[in-house]
């Protein structure tokens, strides 16, 4: 059977990770495909996965009384989901495929067990997720500033 290891190795998220760790992680990985419009998961559901996007585009949505609102779209080479590391492991938004999307899922239970056994692996993964968290936080701050609005206080 063809292993997913070469795909994981080429994904930017795992750049520079020791090959022995990749070999461990690949045991938690599976290939998935979504059609445009498919819902990957919904806000509040249990989060026991994260996704490495290979090709395609996903929308991360929050739903309020006014309906669904897209906060962010993510695409090739990006990562979706860190709720699998943070108890109580629930999604805080929904994810929907905007285009046909190919991804790798990594099983959170499986990874957590491996990280508990080997804290160096856990630290390597946490460093990578911390970077993504920081990037997303900064991007959200910029988005919230509404910097392209020439008329402060305007609602359009």
């Amino acid at each position: 059977m063809k292993t997913l290891e070469p795909i994981l190795r080429e994904h930017p998220f795992f750049e520079g990770l020791e090959p022995s760790y990749l070999a461990l992680i690949v045991g938690c990985a599976s290939n998935v495909v979504f059609k445009a419009g498919d819902v990957l998961f919904r806000d509040g559901e249990e989060a026991n996965l994260f996704y490495l996007i290979r090709h395609g585009r996903l929308a991360l949505e929050l739903t309020s009384e006014r309906g669904p609102f897209t906060m962010l779209t993510i695409g090739d080479g990006e990562i979706l989901g860190w709720s699998w590391i943070i108890p109580p492991y629930h999604w805080h938004f929904s994810a929907r495929a905007v285009e046909d999307t190919r991804a790798i899922t990594l099983d959170g239970n499986c990874l957590r067990a491996k990280c508990e056994e080997d804290h160096h692996l856990g630290y390597e993964l946490l460093k990578r997720f911390a970077r993504i968290l920081e990037d997303r936080l900064r991007a959200t701050q910029l988005q919230l500033l509404d910097v392209y609005c020439p008329y402060p206080g305007e609602k359009r």
Binding site: T70, L72, T73, E99, Q141, D146, V147, Y148
Partner: protein, 280 residues
């Protein structure tokens, strides 16, 4: 060297409006031709003119046309206040005053042999469009070219036709994102920094140019530094209120610089200590 104004830099030259194009609900593009048999304006990408709506006032506006195009002077303007709204009311055949071109240029020649990343926010795409024309005219001189453009909503996207044409090219990476969108929008949502992971470039051999609100440029520069770019590889265009446009009145002063003369395009390492500081 940046082209300079041809005649007395303080005397507006008459230009006739030859074309008006609506880009979005508050942004429009004017095509201007020198009145009479005056020569067309030679300019470099990044330079600006002082546009005078007679009886209303004068504002600095970047030149957004093709530096090699030798007829029309092109400006894309967002109507935000007194003068820009007066300019919005211009119709074909109207006459405006033009002084310039003024200011420094984007480092298009210095970028030869390198990858180029352009990051534009909102109306900041206007001066970077001149850069795109220059890069595309000599495409073979450059490595990978990425244009990353962020704006407020899908309705605020300027130069739509051109962006779509450029996106269709195999030798360009053109990405557009919006801060907010309805569910009918099929494109990207998120700040312009979220496009950076999708741009491929060699951090050691890249020149990056930014134009947009200062906070957007600051966030983008920090994100690029994380990807390994150094301050001296990055250039940005600064904005301040202007009057004379030629370094006389001090209106556009920022620390030791006059934006109209020392800028508007600066290497980031020259101005980084001033960046994001309120008290200057």
């Amino acid at each position: 060297m940046s082209p300079g104004p041809c005649e007395s830099p303080m005397r507006p030259q008459p230009y006739v409006v030859r074309g008006v194009r609506r880009e979005t609900h508050d942004v429009f593009t004017l095509e201007l031709e020198p009145a009479g048999d005056a020569a067309p304006l030679a300019f470099g990408p990044g330079q600006f003119t002082m546009l005078y709506a007679f009886g209303m006032g004068e504002v600095p506006i970047s030149i957004s046309g093709d530096p090699a195009g030798n007829t029309m002077l092109v400006h894309t303007i967002r109507a935000v206040g007194t003068v820009t709204r007066a300019l919005e009311r211009c119709r074909k055949g109207d006459v405006l005053g033009v002084r310039g071109p003024f200011g420094t240029c984007w480092p298009v020649d210095e970028a030869a042999g390198k990858d180029v990343v352009l990051a534009a926010g909102g109306i900041g795409l206007a001066p970077l469009r001149s850069v795109m024309y220059r890069l595309l005219a000599r495409r073979e001189r450059y490595g990978r070219i990425a244009l990353l453009y962020g704006t407020r909503t899908p309705e605020d996207i300027v130069y739509r036709d051109e962006l779509e044409e450029w996106r269709g090219r195999l030798d360009l990476n053109v990405q557009v994102t919006v801060d907010r969108a309805g569910s009918d929008w099929r494109g990207n949502v998120g700040a312009v920094t979220t496009l950076l992971p999708r741009a491929e470039f060699d951090p050691a051999n890249t020149v990056a140019m930014f134009c947009g609100p200062e906070v957007m440029m600051r966030f983008t520069m920090l994100a690029l530094m994380k990807r390994g770019l150094q301050a001296e590889q990055m250039y940005l265009s600064m904005e301040r209120n202007m009057k004379c446009g030629i370094g006389l009145c001090g209106h556009c002063q920022l620390g030791p610089f006059f934006i109209c003369k020392d800028g508007p395009v600066f290497p980031y390492d020259r101005v980084k200590w001033l960046f994001g500081r309120e008290e200057i």
